[in-house]
Every structure is written in C-alpha cells, then in structure tokens.
Symmetry: C2
Subunit: 303 residues, 2 copies
C-alpha cells in the first residue's frame, strides 16, 4: 500500500487490517466512544470487548446482535474496567486498548501495574500524535504531547524507536526527524541540545534503522518550511520536509498540539506507545472522528 499521507489514507490501511483486530474498550458509554465502537464493528468488522462500568444495555443488545464480534465484561467501577481490559491483552484476547469515559490516570495505573500491567522492563510509555494540517504537504507526526514531562536521553531514544516503528507500519519509508529547539546550536546550558547530538550519532550508526534521517536542533518553522531553512542557509534533507518532530519537553509539544488544533484547523489522532499493546487515550474534548482516527492509528500500527 502507499504511505499514509492523510487520514483518508489511514482509513484505507485500517480497513485492510480491521477484521483481524480485537479492541478492548474501557467504559465505552459516552456518545463519542459508542459511535467509534459501532463504526469499527459495522463498517470495518473489528471485534471488540466492551469493559463496561455502568448499566450496559446498549452494549448487551450490541452483543446479542453480534455474538461473534462483541463481548461485554461487566465491571463494578472504572478501575475494574481498566484492569479487565489490561487482562484481556495479557491473556492474548485483545490487541489494542481504548479509553472511553474513564480518567486517563486511572487507565494508566492499570497499564503500569508492575504485577499485572502492560509495561515490560526497560520500556517507557510515550505519546505519538499524527496531525493533518491543511497547509502542510503530508501527515506530520510528533512526540510527546501527553506523557513524559521532560524526556532524558534514554526516553528520547525510546520515543524515536516507537514512533518510527509506527510510521513504518504506515508504509512511511524515508522518515525525516527534526529535533526541536529554539536554538540551532548545541549548548550544554540546554541539555536537550546535547542529547540531540547523541541521537544523531546513534542514527549515523544505524540505531534507528536505515533511511531514517535525524537533524537538529531546529525550530518548528525550519523543520516544516523549506523557505525558512533556505534563508538560514540550513542544508538538510529534513529541514522543510519533516515527518516527525521530537520536542524537548511536554510543555512545548502540548503548545504545538493545542495551537495547530485551535488555530490551524488540524485534524489529529494520538496513541500511547511503549506498552505491550497500543493504547488510545482521547481527551474529553476530542471529536468522534478524531477518536476514530486515533483507534485506526493504533490498530494499523500493530505489526
């Protein structure tokens, strides 16, 4: 298939794998999540386990109408529902976890549980966003706008590994990564610029796979606008054509996320990487279509 450049492309990729995907949904009773569940079932033929923490009449009737595709687990509360979804993954009965009407912290507590969770030793949880911005020529990915406040070198390395794995599963073959900062110089006063030098070195040693290009530090405009890069005489295959932006911290990544969402009419999807299954944690304010794309991203990202 062609590389994913838009959410319409992503939908096609998702359609190809959706019938094989088993999705565990935690507290699916809010309108948007319910809409996503029904769409995945009816349009794409996915199988879903609904971990319900309130009276699940609609879930029960969905299950009776689709006994092979829908399974309902009744739970006493949201925490129990989160643990049930995690157990489904551990037992090999679910591939992806999706958050409904539950607090993100409560869901992540079950995921991070040392005994019964989904995080293997040496791994970290991190967040990947995929954004379709009307004025950009392809899908723009970035991390981490949701989980790690101030990633260290090891965490940045993990983030790049997780993100490039996802992007390769979307058939993006040459991955251009821009390491974001306000400066273009390595400066020990700004520790991330030092990490960036080390990440670039790792990449020249093939650490992030062939045909992955990493450049930086550079700012968002240099990363995404060829003209700005030219004015600054920056000769780089990444500048002006980035596929993935790695931000130095959560404040700047969150600022980027909220700004393109509000002022640039961007459509976005997001997922959490690093656990033994992709996890989708849309926020309350996300639209149903954004929640659907997030789930499609997580399902397509699976090898």
């Amino acid at each position: 298939m062609d590389p994913v450049k838009t959410f319409k492309d992503l939908e096609k990729h998702f359609a190809a794998v959706a019938p094989e995907r088993r999705i565990a949904v935690v507290c699916p009773s809010d309108d948007h999540t319910r809409e996503v569940v029904e769409r995945c079932l009816n349009e794409f033929g996915s199988r879903l386990t609904l971990c319900c923490c309130d009276s699940p009449e609609w879930a029960d009737s969905l299950a009776s109408a689709n006994p092979d595709a829908i399974n309902v687990i009744r739970c006493g509360n949201a925490d129990e529902a989160a643990r049930a979804a995690v157990s489904e993954v551990r037992a090999g009965r679910a591939d992806v976890v999706m958050k409904g009407a539950i607090n993100t912290d409560n869901l992540l507590r079950a995921v991070l549980d040392k005994q019964n969770g989904l995080l293997e030793p040496g791994h970290v949880l991190s967040h990947l966003t995929a954004a379709e911005i009307p004025s950009y020529h392809k899908m723009l990915f970035f991390s981490d706008a949701a989980v790690i406040p101030q990633p260290d070198l090891h965490q940045l390395e993990s983030i790049i590994n997780y993100d490039t794995d996802v992007m390769r599963s979307l058939h993006i073959k040459e991955i251009r990564i821009a390491l974001i900062h306000f400066t273009e110089k390595t400066n020990p006063k700004f520790i991330n610029t030092v990490y960036y030098g080390q990440l670039k070195q790792m990449n020249t040693e093939g650490h992030f796979g062939a045909s992955t290009m990493i450049e930086g530090p550079m700012d968002v405009k240099t990363a995404c606008d060829r003209h700005s890069a030219e004015i600054k005489h920056i000769d780089s295959k990444v500048a002006g054509d980035a596929d993935l932006l790695i931000f130095p911290d959560l404040v700047s990544a969150n600022t980027f996320y909220k700004t393109i969402s509000l002022f640039c009419k961007a459509t976005m999807a997001g997922m959490i990487c690093g656990a033994s299954a992709p996890i989708v944690i849309p926020s309350r304010a996300d639209s149903a279509i954004s929640k659907f794309y997030s789930l499609a991203l997580a399902c397509t990202a699976l090898k």
Copy 2:
C-alpha cells in the same frame, strides 16, 4: 482612541505619535530595514538617526533631502553602530532603537553594557510579541519567545509588568492574562505552576494594576477557545478570551511563535522591553511589513 485589536488599528495609533518619535537604526542598509526607514520618514514624519556601518550613499542622500528629519552617523563597523545608537538614547536624542543588518547578540551587547548601556539595575530584557491570527477575535500578545530561556518568578513578574505597560499604551484596558502550561494544577514538580500561584496572588493584591485579570495554569487552547474552557468546566474571565499568554519557557513560546507564523498565517510584530528605550530586533526572515509593525509597536508603546 479605540483599543488596538488589529495591525490596522496599531498603524492609526502609530500615526498619531510618529512625528514625535526619534528612532535610532543600527546598520539600516538591508532592503527591508531601508524600506521601513523610508516609510516612517515619508508616510509618518518620524525623525531617524541612521547609524551606518557601510558606505551610506542612500542614507546621505536621504539626509540631504530631509535635513530636519534624518541624521547619519558613520561608524567603522556594526559594533560601533550599536554603541552609537545606544549613545543617542542615553543623550536623549533617540526614543527607540531598531536593529537592521546586525547580529542580535552584537546589538544586545551594547544595550547590556554596564557602563554605557540601557539596562537599569533591577530590570531585565524580555520580548513581547503581538500577533494577529486570522481565526482569533483580537490581537494576541505573548512572551517570551526570544530572550529569557527559563524565567524565574522575578523575571515573570517583570515580563507581566512590561507587557501590560505596553498594552495599556495601546488602550487595551481590561487585560486578560493566561499563564500557560500543559497542566491545570499547581504541582511543585513543575516550578512554573508554583510561580503562577504567586503571580495570581500578586495580582489580587493589585500589583499589576486594576482591571488586570490573571488565570492559570492553562493550555493554549483553553486560553483562546471558549468552547474548550466550557468542556473542561473552567469558569474564568480569561479562558477563551486571553489578551496575553505568558509561557513558562522560551522553547514553548518559540514553538507557539513559529507555529502560528507558519501554519496559521499570523502577522506578527515584536519588541524588547525592559531597557530604558524599546528595542526592535526583527529576524532576517521577517517581512518588511512585519518589521514596520514591530517598529510601530515600539514607538506606540512609549508613554
């Protein structure tokens, strides 16, 4: 006059004060700066001192044609031109300093010189941006996208004082300030959220003047979108209607600046506050109109 809500408004405010303004321009020989100089002279009747570091034929002919309005100081190099402009301010012959074809660091070195500079004890230099974003309902100001990497409490206090002084001179009477972060909670792990609590307390004590409202921490979308604030049940006069965003650090402010510039078709102007005269430091990539608005902002900001 009406409060400045657009750059067209700013131009009107500038027109009213321009004939009284004396502008010292450092190395004005690049095309954009020259265009701004000629516009200020011909359309607005400002007086300008051109501190030239190369053969200033055009400057000389401008001075002979406008002997009352144009003064040329020939300098051996850019550093000397910067010192000349600073001296003009110190001698009471210039109100505003504008950067032309000189490196920002070199200009600021002259401004920060302990003996002969423009920074009084207890003051800090900080940067204020004014942005006209097509999808926002008024001018949006923010700091600090250019100077202070990681402002501490005292620096944040100074930034708010400087910014609100500028905004009041633009006749913005009720100033809504959003303190930006990814979280909405005060958390000692994120020191800025603690500073934010102290800044809000100072404001309730009248420290930043009457009719200044300060709220936060909140994210960019909550600050500028009423709907997002409502979904999050945030009851605030600032949320959704911010005039001024205070970012926790330069990386996030720079990300906001570059993102609205590239993806949101924002028009922007900027100035440095804190010195004994406003300083305009446009970057090489700025358009002539953006440079003009920056100078207009600095000239209008003067009491």
